[in-house]
Protein backbone atom coordinates (compact mmCIF):
# COMPACT_ATOMS: atom_id res chain seq x y z
CA UNK A 1 0.00 0.00 0.00
CA UNK A 2 1.31 3.43 -0.88
CA UNK A 3 1.33 6.34 1.52
CA UNK A 4 -1.93 8.26 1.50
CA UNK A 5 -2.17 11.75 0.03
CA UNK A 6 -2.01 14.51 2.65
CA UNK A 7 -4.71 17.11 2.06
CA UNK A 8 -4.89 20.26 4.19
CA UNK A 9 -8.05 22.39 4.36
CA UNK A 10 -7.70 26.03 5.33
CA UNK A 11 -10.35 28.54 6.42
CA UNK A 12 -10.51 31.73 8.47
CA UNK A 13 -10.67 30.33 12.01
CA UNK A 14 -9.95 26.68 11.15
CA UNK A 15 -12.99 25.39 13.02
CA UNK A 16 -16.06 25.62 10.77
CA UNK A 17 -15.84 25.63 6.99
CA UNK A 18 -12.49 23.86 6.73
CA UNK A 19 -13.83 21.05 8.96
CA UNK A 20 -16.98 20.71 6.85
CA UNK A 21 -14.98 20.78 3.61
CA UNK A 22 -12.64 18.10 4.92
CA UNK A 23 -15.57 15.85 5.89
CA UNK A 24 -17.21 16.17 2.47
CA UNK A 25 -14.08 15.91 0.36
CA UNK A 26 -12.71 12.92 2.24
CA UNK A 27 -15.88 11.01 1.41
CA UNK A 28 -15.70 12.06 -2.24
CA UNK A 29 -12.02 11.08 -2.44
CA UNK A 30 -12.97 7.60 -1.31
CA UNK A 31 -15.37 7.43 -4.25
CA UNK A 32 -12.47 8.48 -6.50
CA UNK A 33 -10.46 5.59 -5.01
CA UNK A 34 -7.85 8.00 -3.63
CA UNK A 35 -6.60 7.18 -0.16
CA UNK A 36 -6.07 10.42 1.70
CA UNK A 37 -5.40 11.78 5.14
CA UNK A 38 -7.03 15.13 5.82
CA UNK A 39 -6.43 17.89 8.35
CA UNK A 40 -7.89 21.36 8.71
CA UNK A 41 -6.58 24.57 10.17
CA UNK A 42 -6.85 28.36 10.11
CA UNK A 43 -4.96 30.64 7.76
CA UNK A 44 -3.02 31.99 10.74
CA UNK A 45 -1.83 28.51 11.73
CA UNK A 46 -1.29 27.14 8.22
CA UNK A 47 2.48 27.51 8.45
CA UNK A 48 2.78 24.67 10.94
CA UNK A 49 1.15 22.19 8.56
CA UNK A 50 2.48 23.40 5.21
CA UNK A 51 5.27 20.82 5.11
CA UNK A 52 2.91 17.99 6.00
CA UNK A 53 0.51 18.77 3.15
CA UNK A 54 0.77 17.47 -0.41
CA UNK A 55 -2.31 19.44 -1.46
CA UNK A 56 -3.72 22.57 0.18
CA UNK A 57 -7.42 23.37 -0.34
CA UNK A 58 -8.20 26.99 0.42
CA UNK A 59 -11.26 29.19 -0.10
CA UNK A 60 -10.82 31.70 -2.91
CA UNK A 61 -11.35 34.73 -0.65
CA UNK A 62 -8.40 33.73 1.52
CA UNK A 63 -5.91 33.21 -1.29
CA UNK A 64 -5.14 36.86 -1.87
CA UNK A 65 -1.85 37.84 -0.31
CA UNK A 66 -0.85 34.27 0.51
CA UNK A 67 2.30 32.99 -1.18
CA UNK A 68 2.93 29.29 -1.54
CA UNK A 69 6.30 27.84 -2.33
CA UNK A 70 6.61 26.57 -5.91
CA UNK A 71 5.65 22.94 -6.35
CA UNK A 72 2.92 23.07 -3.70
CA UNK A 73 -0.41 21.95 -5.14
CA UNK A 74 -3.22 24.38 -4.42
CA UNK A 75 -6.92 23.72 -4.92
CA UNK A 76 -9.18 26.77 -4.84
CA UNK A 77 -12.58 26.24 -3.25
CA UNK A 78 -15.73 28.25 -3.88
CA UNK A 79 -18.57 26.01 -2.69
CA UNK A 80 -17.04 24.11 0.24
CA UNK A 81 -19.96 21.68 0.26
CA UNK A 82 -19.15 20.56 -3.29
CA UNK A 83 -17.19 17.49 -2.21
CA UNK A 84 -17.16 15.74 -5.62
CA UNK A 85 -16.03 18.89 -7.45
CA UNK A 86 -13.13 19.55 -5.08
CA UNK A 87 -12.20 15.85 -5.04
CA UNK A 88 -12.18 15.93 -8.85
CA UNK A 89 -9.64 18.75 -8.83
CA UNK A 90 -7.52 16.80 -6.34
CA UNK A 91 -7.91 13.75 -8.59
CA UNK A 92 -6.31 15.63 -11.49
CA UNK A 93 -3.32 16.52 -9.30
CA UNK A 94 -3.04 12.90 -8.17
CA UNK A 95 -3.04 11.57 -11.73
CA UNK A 96 -0.34 14.00 -12.76
CA UNK A 97 1.98 13.98 -9.74
CA UNK A 98 1.09 11.01 -7.51
CA UNK A 99 -0.05 8.33 -9.95
CA UNK A 100 0.58 5.51 -7.45
CA UNK A 101 -2.01 6.72 -4.97
CA UNK A 102 -5.20 6.02 -6.93
CA UNK A 103 -6.18 2.41 -6.35
Amino acid sequence: MSTPLHVLFVCGYGVGTSAMAAINVQKALKAERISAEVQHTSLGNMGSLKDWADVICIAVNLQQGVRFEPGKHIVTMINILDGPGIAGQIGKIVDEYYPGIRE
Binding site: G12, V15, M20, G44, G65, V66, I80
Partner: protein, 433 residues
Protein backbone atom coordinates in the same frame (compact mmCIF):
# COMPACT_ATOMS: atom_id res chain seq x y z
CA UNK B 1 -18.03 2.12 49.26
CA UNK B 2 -20.59 4.75 50.05
CA UNK B 3 -17.88 7.37 49.99
CA UNK B 4 -16.63 6.26 46.61
CA UNK B 5 -20.18 6.44 45.28
CA UNK B 6 -20.64 9.92 46.71
CA UNK B 7 -17.33 11.07 45.25
CA UNK B 8 -18.41 9.77 41.85
CA UNK B 9 -21.92 11.23 41.88
CA UNK B 10 -21.30 14.58 43.54
CA UNK B 11 -17.84 15.44 42.46
CA UNK B 12 -16.16 13.50 39.68
CA UNK B 13 -19.11 12.95 37.33
CA UNK B 14 -20.40 16.51 37.60
CA UNK B 15 -17.13 18.04 36.40
CA UNK B 16 -17.75 19.51 32.94
CA UNK B 17 -14.80 17.78 31.33
CA UNK B 18 -15.88 14.35 32.65
CA UNK B 19 -19.49 14.90 31.63
CA UNK B 20 -18.49 15.85 28.09
CA UNK B 21 -15.94 13.03 27.93
CA UNK B 22 -18.59 10.46 28.85
CA UNK B 23 -20.95 11.85 26.23
CA UNK B 24 -18.32 11.72 23.48
CA UNK B 25 -17.21 8.24 24.56
CA UNK B 26 -20.80 6.99 24.42
CA UNK B 27 -21.14 8.52 20.95
CA UNK B 28 -18.08 6.64 19.68
CA UNK B 29 -19.31 3.37 21.21
CA UNK B 30 -22.70 3.81 19.54
CA UNK B 31 -20.95 4.45 16.22
CA UNK B 32 -19.06 1.16 16.79
CA UNK B 33 -15.70 2.90 16.45
CA UNK B 34 -12.43 1.03 16.96
CA UNK B 35 -11.15 0.94 20.56
CA UNK B 36 -8.14 3.17 19.77
CA UNK B 37 -10.50 5.77 18.30
CA UNK B 38 -12.80 5.57 21.33
CA UNK B 39 -9.93 6.21 23.73
CA UNK B 40 -8.03 8.82 21.72
CA UNK B 41 -11.18 10.64 20.54
CA UNK B 42 -12.59 10.87 24.06
CA UNK B 43 -9.34 12.19 25.49
CA UNK B 44 -8.98 14.69 22.62
CA UNK B 45 -12.49 16.02 23.29
CA UNK B 46 -11.73 16.40 27.01
CA UNK B 47 -8.41 18.14 26.37
CA UNK B 48 -10.20 20.32 23.81
CA UNK B 49 -12.78 21.42 26.37
CA UNK B 50 -10.06 22.21 28.92
CA UNK B 51 -8.24 24.29 26.28
CA UNK B 52 -11.47 26.20 25.59
CA UNK B 53 -12.02 26.82 29.31
CA UNK B 54 -8.40 27.84 29.81
CA UNK B 55 -8.33 30.11 26.73
CA UNK B 56 -11.65 31.71 27.67
CA UNK B 57 -10.59 32.37 31.26
CA UNK B 58 -7.30 33.87 30.13
CA UNK B 59 -9.13 35.99 27.55
CA UNK B 60 -11.15 37.43 30.45
CA UNK B 61 -8.06 37.77 32.63
CA UNK B 62 -6.32 39.94 30.03
CA UNK B 63 -9.33 42.23 29.71
CA UNK B 64 -10.76 42.45 33.23
CA UNK B 65 -7.99 44.52 34.89
CA UNK B 66 -8.23 47.03 32.04
CA UNK B 67 -12.03 47.16 32.28
CA UNK B 68 -11.85 47.64 36.05
CA UNK B 69 -9.28 50.44 35.77
CA UNK B 70 -11.32 52.27 33.11
CA UNK B 71 -14.48 51.78 35.14
CA UNK B 72 -12.78 53.25 38.24
CA UNK B 73 -11.49 56.20 36.23
CA UNK B 74 -14.60 57.02 34.18
CA UNK B 75 -17.57 55.08 35.57
CA UNK B 76 -17.98 53.35 32.20
CA UNK B 77 -18.13 49.53 32.12
CA UNK B 78 -16.40 48.13 29.06
CA UNK B 79 -17.24 44.81 27.44
CA UNK B 80 -15.93 42.97 24.40
CA UNK B 81 -18.45 42.11 21.70
CA UNK B 82 -17.26 38.84 20.20
CA UNK B 83 -18.86 35.41 20.14
CA UNK B 84 -15.78 34.02 21.89
CA UNK B 85 -16.25 36.58 24.69
CA UNK B 86 -19.80 35.22 25.09
CA UNK B 87 -18.31 31.74 25.32
CA UNK B 88 -15.90 32.93 28.04
CA UNK B 89 -18.64 34.77 29.96
CA UNK B 90 -21.12 31.90 29.95
CA UNK B 91 -18.55 29.23 30.81
CA UNK B 92 -17.58 31.26 33.89
CA UNK B 93 -21.21 32.00 34.78
CA UNK B 94 -22.20 28.33 34.49
CA UNK B 95 -19.22 27.08 36.49
CA UNK B 96 -19.63 23.37 37.19
CA UNK B 97 -22.93 23.39 35.27
CA UNK B 98 -20.99 23.93 32.02
CA UNK B 99 -20.97 20.19 31.28
CA UNK B 100 -24.75 20.21 30.77
CA UNK B 101 -24.06 22.31 27.68
CA UNK B 102 -23.30 18.98 25.95
CA UNK B 103 -26.81 17.70 26.66
CA UNK B 104 -28.42 20.93 25.48
CA UNK B 105 -26.39 20.76 22.29
CA UNK B 106 -27.37 17.16 21.49
CA UNK B 107 -31.03 17.56 22.50
CA UNK B 108 -31.35 20.79 20.50
CA UNK B 109 -29.97 18.92 17.48
CA UNK B 110 -32.56 16.20 18.09
CA UNK B 111 -35.36 18.80 18.25
CA UNK B 112 -34.07 20.36 15.03
CA UNK B 113 -33.86 16.90 13.41
CA UNK B 114 -37.45 16.02 14.37
CA UNK B 115 -38.76 19.34 13.03
CA UNK B 116 -36.96 18.77 9.72
CA UNK B 117 -37.99 15.11 9.53
CA UNK B 118 -41.63 16.23 9.70
CA UNK B 119 -40.83 19.15 7.43
CA UNK B 120 -43.96 18.55 5.38
CA UNK B 121 -45.99 19.72 8.36
CA UNK B 122 -43.51 21.98 10.16
CA UNK B 123 -42.05 23.67 7.03
CA UNK B 124 -38.57 23.45 8.61
CA UNK B 125 -35.79 22.61 6.10
CA UNK B 126 -32.47 23.57 7.69
CA UNK B 127 -30.47 21.29 10.00
CA UNK B 128 -27.81 22.96 12.15
CA UNK B 129 -24.51 21.07 11.74
CA UNK B 130 -22.00 23.64 12.97
CA UNK B 131 -20.48 22.09 16.10
CA UNK B 132 -18.11 25.00 16.73
CA UNK B 133 -21.04 27.44 16.92
CA UNK B 134 -23.69 25.13 18.38
CA UNK B 135 -21.72 24.39 21.56
CA UNK B 136 -21.25 28.12 22.24
CA UNK B 137 -24.97 28.76 21.73
CA UNK B 138 -25.93 25.77 23.89
CA UNK B 139 -24.05 27.12 26.87
CA UNK B 140 -25.29 30.69 26.32
CA UNK B 141 -28.96 29.62 26.14
CA UNK B 142 -28.53 27.29 29.13
CA UNK B 143 -27.15 30.20 31.14
CA UNK B 144 -29.94 32.58 30.05
CA UNK B 145 -32.62 30.03 30.94
CA UNK B 146 -31.05 29.10 34.28
CA UNK B 147 -30.45 32.66 35.38
CA UNK B 148 -33.75 34.16 34.22
CA UNK B 149 -36.19 31.36 35.04
CA UNK B 150 -34.31 30.42 38.23
CA UNK B 151 -35.17 26.72 37.91
CA UNK B 152 -33.30 23.48 38.51
CA UNK B 153 -30.70 22.23 36.04
CA UNK B 154 -32.63 19.40 34.41
CA UNK B 155 -35.77 21.37 33.48
CA UNK B 156 -33.45 24.17 32.32
CA UNK B 157 -31.65 21.72 30.02
CA UNK B 158 -34.98 20.64 28.49
CA UNK B 159 -36.30 24.19 28.01
CA UNK B 160 -32.96 25.38 26.56
CA UNK B 161 -32.84 22.47 24.11
CA UNK B 162 -36.35 23.12 22.82
CA UNK B 163 -35.72 26.86 22.48
CA UNK B 164 -32.44 26.35 20.69
CA UNK B 165 -33.66 23.49 18.50
CA UNK B 166 -36.66 25.50 17.31
CA UNK B 167 -34.43 28.53 16.72
CA UNK B 168 -32.00 26.44 14.67
CA UNK B 169 -34.75 24.86 12.57
CA UNK B 170 -36.48 28.11 11.64
CA UNK B 171 -33.58 30.59 11.52
CA UNK B 172 -31.69 28.34 9.10
CA UNK B 173 -34.85 27.84 7.03
CA UNK B 174 -35.48 31.61 6.90
CA UNK B 175 -31.96 32.25 5.60
CA UNK B 176 -32.15 29.43 3.02
CA UNK B 177 -33.66 31.30 0.03
CA UNK B 178 -31.15 34.15 0.37
CA UNK B 179 -28.22 31.72 0.66
CA UNK B 180 -29.50 29.76 -2.34
CA UNK B 181 -29.62 32.94 -4.41
CA UNK B 182 -26.18 34.16 -3.33
CA UNK B 183 -24.51 30.79 -3.93
CA UNK B 184 -26.38 30.02 -7.15
CA UNK B 185 -28.03 26.94 -5.66
CA UNK B 186 -25.10 25.88 -3.49
CA UNK B 187 -27.24 23.30 -1.70
CA UNK B 188 -26.79 24.60 1.83
CA UNK B 189 -27.94 27.24 4.27
CA UNK B 190 -26.16 28.98 7.13
CA UNK B 191 -26.12 27.73 10.74
CA UNK B 192 -24.20 30.36 12.67
CA UNK B 193 -24.83 33.52 14.75
CA UNK B 194 -26.52 35.67 12.07
CA UNK B 195 -29.01 33.65 9.99
CA UNK B 196 -31.80 36.07 10.92
CA UNK B 197 -29.48 38.86 9.81
CA UNK B 198 -29.00 37.18 6.43
CA UNK B 199 -32.79 36.93 6.06
CA UNK B 200 -33.29 40.57 7.18
CA UNK B 201 -30.65 42.05 4.88
CA UNK B 202 -31.76 39.71 2.10
CA UNK B 203 -35.16 41.43 2.33
CA UNK B 204 -33.91 45.04 2.27
CA UNK B 205 -30.53 45.01 0.47
CA UNK B 206 -32.03 45.48 -3.02
CA UNK B 207 -33.44 48.87 -1.96
CA UNK B 208 -30.05 50.52 -1.65
CA UNK B 209 -28.42 50.06 -5.03
CA UNK B 210 -28.11 48.20 -8.30
CA UNK B 211 -26.65 44.73 -8.29
CA UNK B 212 -24.95 45.46 -11.60
CA UNK B 213 -22.49 47.67 -9.67
CA UNK B 214 -20.71 44.55 -8.52
CA UNK B 215 -18.07 44.94 -5.81
CA UNK B 216 -16.01 42.28 -7.60
CA UNK B 217 -15.14 44.81 -10.31
CA UNK B 218 -13.18 46.85 -7.80
CA UNK B 219 -9.51 46.54 -7.07
CA UNK B 220 -9.00 46.63 -3.31
CA UNK B 221 -5.65 47.38 -1.66
CA UNK B 222 -3.83 44.09 -1.19
CA UNK B 223 -2.75 44.95 2.34
CA UNK B 224 -6.33 44.33 3.55
CA UNK B 225 -5.64 40.61 3.11
CA UNK B 226 -3.80 40.78 6.43
CA UNK B 227 -7.20 40.59 8.12
CA UNK B 228 -7.76 37.15 6.57
CA UNK B 229 -5.08 35.85 8.89
CA UNK B 230 -6.90 35.18 12.16
CA UNK B 231 -3.81 35.39 14.35
CA UNK B 232 -2.91 38.81 12.94
CA UNK B 233 -6.43 40.23 12.74
CA UNK B 234 -7.32 39.47 16.37
CA UNK B 235 -4.11 41.15 17.52
CA UNK B 236 -4.51 44.25 15.31
CA UNK B 237 -8.19 44.75 16.16
CA UNK B 238 -7.45 44.42 19.88
CA UNK B 239 -4.53 46.85 19.65
CA UNK B 240 -6.82 49.43 18.06
CA UNK B 241 -9.91 49.07 20.21
CA UNK B 242 -8.53 48.05 23.59
CA UNK B 243 -5.72 50.56 23.04
CA UNK B 244 -8.25 53.35 22.43
CA UNK B 245 -10.28 52.15 25.40
CA UNK B 246 -7.22 52.70 27.64
CA UNK B 247 -6.79 56.37 26.59
CA UNK B 248 -8.78 57.76 29.57
CA UNK B 249 -6.32 56.01 31.91
CA UNK B 250 -3.46 58.11 30.61
CA UNK B 251 0.14 56.96 30.75
CA UNK B 252 0.05 57.03 34.57
CA UNK B 253 -2.96 54.72 34.71
CA UNK B 254 -1.48 52.29 32.24
CA UNK B 255 1.80 52.32 34.20
CA UNK B 256 -0.19 51.24 37.24
CA UNK B 257 -1.71 48.35 35.29
CA UNK B 258 1.63 47.37 33.82
CA UNK B 259 3.28 46.92 37.23
CA UNK B 260 6.93 46.25 36.60
CA UNK B 261 6.64 46.33 32.82
CA UNK B 262 7.02 49.35 30.59
CA UNK B 263 3.60 50.89 29.82
CA UNK B 264 4.04 50.70 26.07
CA UNK B 265 5.15 47.09 26.31
CA UNK B 266 1.97 46.43 28.31
CA UNK B 267 -0.32 47.79 25.56
CA UNK B 268 1.70 45.91 22.97
CA UNK B 269 1.39 42.63 24.84
CA UNK B 270 -2.36 43.03 25.36
CA UNK B 271 -2.94 42.58 21.62
CA UNK B 272 -0.46 39.72 21.37
CA UNK B 273 -1.96 37.95 24.39
CA UNK B 274 -5.53 38.24 23.12
CA UNK B 275 -4.37 36.51 19.97
CA UNK B 276 -2.52 33.84 21.98
CA UNK B 277 -5.62 32.93 23.98
CA UNK B 278 -7.85 33.10 20.91
CA UNK B 279 -5.50 30.61 19.24
CA UNK B 280 -5.70 28.38 22.33
CA UNK B 281 -9.50 28.63 22.29
CA UNK B 282 -9.71 27.80 18.58
CA UNK B 283 -7.37 24.84 19.02
CA UNK B 284 -9.69 23.57 21.75
CA UNK B 285 -12.76 24.09 19.57
CA UNK B 286 -11.05 22.20 16.73
CA UNK B 287 -10.28 19.27 19.05
CA UNK B 288 -13.72 19.12 20.64
CA UNK B 289 -16.07 20.03 17.81
CA UNK B 290 -14.80 18.57 14.51
CA UNK B 291 -16.01 15.07 15.33
CA UNK B 292 -19.37 16.50 16.38
CA UNK B 293 -19.75 18.23 13.04
CA UNK B 294 -18.76 15.01 11.25
CA UNK B 295 -21.23 12.94 13.29
CA UNK B 296 -24.05 15.42 12.67
CA UNK B 297 -23.30 15.45 8.94
CA UNK B 298 -23.44 11.65 8.95
CA UNK B 299 -26.78 11.60 10.78
CA UNK B 300 -28.20 14.22 8.42
CA UNK B 301 -27.20 12.26 5.32
CA UNK B 302 -28.70 9.06 6.76
CA UNK B 303 -31.96 10.30 8.28
CA UNK B 304 -32.90 13.47 6.39
CA UNK B 305 -30.89 13.40 3.14
CA UNK B 306 -33.15 16.05 1.60
CA UNK B 307 -32.64 18.54 4.43
CA UNK B 308 -30.52 21.61 3.84
CA UNK B 309 -27.28 21.32 5.81
CA UNK B 310 -26.79 24.53 7.80
CA UNK B 311 -23.07 25.21 7.89
CA UNK B 312 -20.57 27.83 9.03
CA UNK B 313 -21.13 31.33 7.66
CA UNK B 314 -17.63 31.58 6.22
CA UNK B 315 -18.94 29.32 3.43
CA UNK B 316 -20.54 32.45 1.91
CA UNK B 317 -17.33 34.47 1.68
CA UNK B 318 -15.78 32.77 -1.39
CA UNK B 319 -18.84 33.74 -3.42
CA UNK B 320 -17.76 37.39 -3.35
CA UNK B 321 -14.34 38.01 -1.82
CA UNK B 322 -14.34 41.79 -2.39
CA UNK B 323 -17.79 42.23 -0.90
CA UNK B 324 -16.65 40.24 2.14
CA UNK B 325 -13.70 42.59 2.66
CA UNK B 326 -15.85 45.70 2.14
CA UNK B 327 -18.48 44.27 4.48
CA UNK B 328 -15.83 43.89 7.15
CA UNK B 329 -14.68 47.50 6.68
CA UNK B 330 -18.13 49.07 6.74
CA UNK B 331 -19.35 46.90 9.61
CA UNK B 332 -16.34 48.25 11.50
CA UNK B 333 -17.31 51.79 10.49
CA UNK B 334 -20.88 51.33 11.71
CA UNK B 335 -19.57 49.89 14.96
CA UNK B 336 -17.16 52.78 15.52
CA UNK B 337 -19.88 55.37 14.77
CA UNK B 338 -22.14 53.66 17.30
CA UNK B 339 -19.38 53.62 19.92
CA UNK B 340 -19.04 57.41 19.52
CA UNK B 341 -22.80 57.79 19.94
CA UNK B 342 -22.64 55.69 23.12
CA UNK B 343 -19.82 57.89 24.42
CA UNK B 344 -21.57 61.17 23.59
CA UNK B 345 -24.84 59.93 25.09
CA UNK B 346 -22.98 59.06 28.30
CA UNK B 347 -23.86 55.37 28.21
CA UNK B 348 -22.68 53.53 31.35
CA UNK B 349 -21.88 50.51 29.13
CA UNK B 350 -19.37 50.59 26.32
CA UNK B 351 -18.63 47.76 23.89
CA UNK B 352 -15.40 47.06 22.03
CA UNK B 353 -15.61 44.92 18.89
CA UNK B 354 -13.60 41.75 18.63
CA UNK B 355 -12.57 40.28 15.28
CA UNK B 356 -15.41 37.75 14.96
CA UNK B 357 -18.49 39.98 14.44
CA UNK B 358 -16.61 42.32 12.13
CA UNK B 359 -15.25 39.53 9.90
CA UNK B 360 -18.02 36.93 10.17
CA UNK B 361 -21.10 39.15 10.32
CA UNK B 362 -19.77 42.06 8.26
CA UNK B 363 -18.24 39.75 5.63
CA UNK B 364 -21.24 37.55 4.84
CA UNK B 365 -23.79 40.38 5.03
CA UNK B 366 -21.52 42.21 2.58
CA UNK B 367 -21.73 39.23 0.20
CA UNK B 368 -25.54 39.15 0.49
CA UNK B 369 -25.85 42.92 -0.01
CA UNK B 370 -23.57 42.86 -3.06
CA UNK B 371 -25.63 40.12 -4.69
CA UNK B 372 -28.86 42.06 -4.13
CA UNK B 373 -27.82 45.68 -4.53
CA UNK B 374 -24.18 46.00 -5.50
CA UNK B 375 -21.54 48.09 -3.85
CA UNK B 376 -23.78 50.89 -2.52
CA UNK B 377 -25.89 48.31 -0.78
CA UNK B 378 -22.77 46.73 0.76
CA UNK B 379 -21.76 50.10 2.19
CA UNK B 380 -25.19 50.97 3.60
CA UNK B 381 -26.22 47.51 4.81
CA UNK B 382 -22.94 46.77 6.57
CA UNK B 383 -22.80 50.18 8.25
CA UNK B 384 -26.36 49.55 9.44
CA UNK B 385 -25.31 46.06 10.54
CA UNK B 386 -22.53 47.53 12.71
CA UNK B 387 -25.00 49.97 14.27
CA UNK B 388 -27.61 47.28 15.00
CA UNK B 389 -25.01 44.90 16.41
CA UNK B 390 -23.47 47.53 18.69
CA UNK B 391 -26.68 48.87 20.24
CA UNK B 392 -28.24 45.42 20.37
CA UNK B 393 -25.21 44.01 22.17
CA UNK B 394 -25.33 46.81 24.75
CA UNK B 395 -28.97 45.83 25.33
CA UNK B 396 -28.02 42.14 25.58
CA UNK B 397 -25.24 42.94 28.06
CA UNK B 398 -27.71 44.66 30.40
CA UNK B 399 -29.54 41.32 30.53
CA UNK B 400 -26.70 38.79 30.56
CA UNK B 401 -27.03 38.34 34.37
CA UNK B 402 -23.28 38.18 34.85
CA UNK B 403 -21.84 41.72 34.97
CA UNK B 404 -18.37 40.43 35.79
CA UNK B 405 -18.20 38.64 32.41
CA UNK B 406 -15.81 39.79 29.68
CA UNK B 407 -18.52 40.45 27.10
CA UNK B 408 -21.23 39.12 24.83
CA UNK B 409 -21.58 37.85 21.27
CA UNK B 410 -21.87 40.99 19.15
CA UNK B 411 -23.36 38.98 16.27
CA UNK B 412 -26.67 39.99 14.66
CA UNK B 413 -28.96 37.29 16.06
CA UNK B 414 -27.54 37.74 19.56
CA UNK B 415 -28.09 41.48 19.33
CA UNK B 416 -31.70 41.22 18.10
CA UNK B 417 -33.66 37.97 18.48
CA UNK B 418 -31.97 36.58 21.58
CA UNK B 419 -32.27 39.74 23.70
CA UNK B 420 -36.02 39.67 22.95
CA UNK B 421 -36.20 36.00 24.02
CA UNK B 422 -34.12 36.86 27.11
CA UNK B 423 -36.55 39.65 28.01
CA UNK B 424 -39.47 37.21 27.71
CA UNK B 425 -37.67 34.63 29.85
CA UNK B 426 -37.03 37.32 32.42
CA UNK B 427 -40.72 38.30 32.56
CA UNK B 428 -41.77 34.67 32.89
CA UNK B 429 -39.18 34.17 35.63
CA UNK B 430 -40.49 37.17 37.55
CA UNK B 431 -44.09 35.99 37.33
CA UNK B 432 -43.23 32.68 38.98
CA UNK B 433 -40.92 34.01 41.70
Amino acid sequence: MNEVFRFLMDDFLTKPVILIGLLVCLGYILQKEHITKIISGTICAMVGLQLIIFGGNQFSNVFKPIATAVSDATGISGYIMDSYAMRATTQQALGDNLGYMGYVFLLAFAVNLILVYFGKYTRARGLFLTGNIGTAQAQAVLWLVLSNLMIRTMPAVIISSVLLGVFWAYSTTLAAPVVEEVTGGGGFTIGHHQQIGIWFFGKIAHLFGKKEQDAENLKLPGVLAVFNNNVASVCIIMWVFVGAFMIPLGVEGIKELAGNDNWFEYIFMVGINFSVYMTVLLTGVRMMCTELTAAFRGIQERIVPDALPAIDVAALLPFSPNAATLGFIFCTLGTVLSIFVLLIAGSPILVLPGATPLLFSGGPIGVVANKKGGIRSVILCCTLLGIIQTFGTVWAITMMQYPEGAGWSGMFDWATVWPVITKLLNWIGQIFH
